[in-house]
């Protein structure tokens, strides 16, 4: 597995753990990994809108930080949303009918 694939696994781990922390355990995951881009969509039932919903949206849509990515990506998966934001180029989020949807994009 190359480094980029390891990072993708870590991004997915962080997203899944986010849903778990918000007590959403029945997830539908769609991962599209192409040569030049990545798209991950995770949808799960969530009884309440997460308190940090807006904060997560802002983080995922902040600029990437390459100096953090190479060095710290192994920390993803343990509630490192700020670090996740530095690996994601942009994201779409929605919360409707108790369904939380997070879709992230990353250029490779």
């Amino acid at each position: 597995m190359n480094t980029e694939q390891q990072k993708i696994g870590k991004i997915l781990e962080e997203l899944i753990n986010y849903f778990f922390r918000n007590k959403s355990y029945d997830l539908k995951i769609d991962l599209n990994y192409q040569e030049d881009k990545l798209c991950i969509k995770v949808v799960g039932e969530c009884q309440e809108k997460p308190k940090d919903y807006q904060e997560l949206y802002d983080l995922l849509n902040s600029t990437t930080r390459p100096e953090l990515e190479e060095y710290y990506y192994e920390l993803l998966g343990s509630n490192e949303l700020k670090l996740l934001g530095s690996l994601i180029d942009c994201a779409e989020m929605s919360y409707e009918d108790k369904q939380l949807c997070i879709k992230v994009y990353r250029k490779l």
């Binding site: 190479e70 710290y72 192994e74 920390l75 700020k82 670090l83």
Partner: protein
């Protein structure tokens, strides 16, 4: 509505075109302004060095510094002179800033931390001669990976912890300089080449609870390298060159320098106490970029306060401001933008101090004060698990750090970072299981 005081009015007038954060707590200066501030702080350090020694003395001192092996502990205030040591420090801070600027790195927490760390360790180990090969090695690794050097700038600059290896090979043995200097440079480049993959891998070992991750990485690398060197009969000499002079000018300068940082921070912050209270709630675990999460102003306030507190602590504990102590203070200050604050460093320092009262080392000794300063690498443990956990961590850290230096023979300047990796790896799972159990009960 309460009328704004004179300071607030001045801020509103000066910063009328500067963005505020959403809570209107602090102003957000541009990256150019942040670069200007950090560069100015470095230039002030260089200018101050000329008040301590004449330019000729500084040049002569630099010559002695650059040709010394630089292994732990080599205080450049003694090996060179105070002026050359501080000049070296300011110069390498500027070099780090230039490298960051060329690579278009935002002036945020991690870069501020590394600039001050390089500056601090330039008082007792790092020189232009021994850091450039390592940075070059990381650059070659970036080329090899077909990625930008910007992606590896942190391991490049932090990785200069192994600078003494370059100097030791070049100047530490009785080799012909025509061969030993290129040898040192080549080995430095090779070390720089292997640091990035190791650094990103080893971070899992302590899970971000050791802020000096590179210290742990370089400790492991240094362990292997020194083992190989010893196999060929190349041993690093026991070194303890430390200045014992009480330099009032340096003491006054440091307090004023940190006060300046504090004032800059206050200037860019509207709600001083509220912003610091919020900052202190951070655990500090990697990656805690206070410039991003709390604002540049509040981060600078934190840095200034930490600088004043650490300098006072060293003096109260009976130490004089020598190269290693000032280096330790600089490092704590730099990480005031990237994980450390008063609430998470004090438990560690308390633990180290309490340990010194019971163990074989004196509280005012070099090793204890260094362990207190650099042991704050474990601040995230206190931030995450509380004061008692922090005190216990500091208590254990003093013992471990005194037992790991031999492994790398003093070529890894971040010896406390090396030790902290082991301490975090052992204690964090234990604290985590206890915390989880109590959370289940509640």
């Amino acid at each position: 509505m309460k009328e704004a005081g004179p300071i607030k009015k001045l801020q509103e007038k000066l910063f009328k075109n500067t963005q505020l954060d959403t809570d209107r707590t602090y102003y957000i200066p541009s990256d150019k302004v942040k670069y200007l501030i950090i560069t100015s702080l470095s230039l002030i350090l260089i200018l101050f060095s000329f008040t301590l020694n004449t330019p000729m003395e500084i040049i002569e001192g630099l010559g002695r510094i650059i040709t010394s092996p630089g292994i732990l502990v080599t205080d450049f205030l003694a090996a060179g002179n105070p002026g050359s040591a501080l000049f070296n420090s300011g110069l390498l801070m500027l070099l780090s800033i230039v490298i960051a600027a060329i690579n278009k790195i935002d002036m945020k927490g991690p870069i501020i931390a590394v600039i001050f760390t390089v500056g601090g360790f330039s008082l007792f180990g790092k020189t232009p001669f021994n850091i450039i090969p390592i940075i070059l090695g990381v650059y070659l690794f970036a080329l090899f990976q077909k990625k930008k050097f910007a992606n590896y700038i942190l391991p490049a600059l932090f990785g200069t912890a192994l600078g003494p290896l370059v100097s030791l090979l070049a100047f530490g043995f009785d080799f012909d300089l025509r061969y030993s200097i290129p040898l040192g440079i080549i080995v430095g480049v090779a070390v720089g080449f292997i640091i990035p993959p190791m650094a990103s891998h080893f971070i899992q070992f302590h899970q971000g609870y050791n802020l000096y991750n590179i210290g742990f990485t370089c400790g492991i690398a240094g362990l292997v390298i020194m083992a190989i060197m010893r196999s060929f009969g190349l041993k690093s000499p026991d070194t303890m060159i430390v200045s014992e002079i009480e330099n009032i000018a340096i003491t006054v300068f440091l307090f004023l320098w940190f006060l300046l940082m504090l004032l800059i921070g206050l200037f860019y912050t509207r709600k001083w106490i509220e912003s610091q209270g919020k900052l202190y709630k951070n655990t500090g675990r990697l990656v805690s970029d206070f410039v991003v999460s709390e604002g540049f102003g509040p981060a600078m306030i934190n840095m200034g306060l930490l600088g004043i507190l650490m300098t006072t602590m060293v003096l109260v504990m009976g130490g004089n401001l020598n190269g290693p102590f000032i280096g330790g203070i600089f490092t704590v200050v730099g990480f005031g933008a990237f994980g450390k604050h008063i609430a998470n460093v004090l438990p560690i320092i308390t633990g180290v101090f309490l340990a010194s009262l019971l163990k074989i080392w004196e509280p005012d000794s070099l090793v204890v004060i260094l362990a207190a300063l650099f042991g704050t690498s474990l601040a995230p443990v206190a931030g995450s698990y509380g004061w008692l956990a922090g005190i216990l961590t500091g208590f254990i850290h003093l013992s471990v750090v005194m037992n790991v230096g031999y492994l790398h023979g003093g070529i890894n300047l971040y010896n406390n970072g090396f030790s902290a990796g082991f301490v975090a790896a052992v204690l964090v799972p234990i604290f985590n299981s206890i915390q989880t159990r109590f959370q289940k009960d509640s």
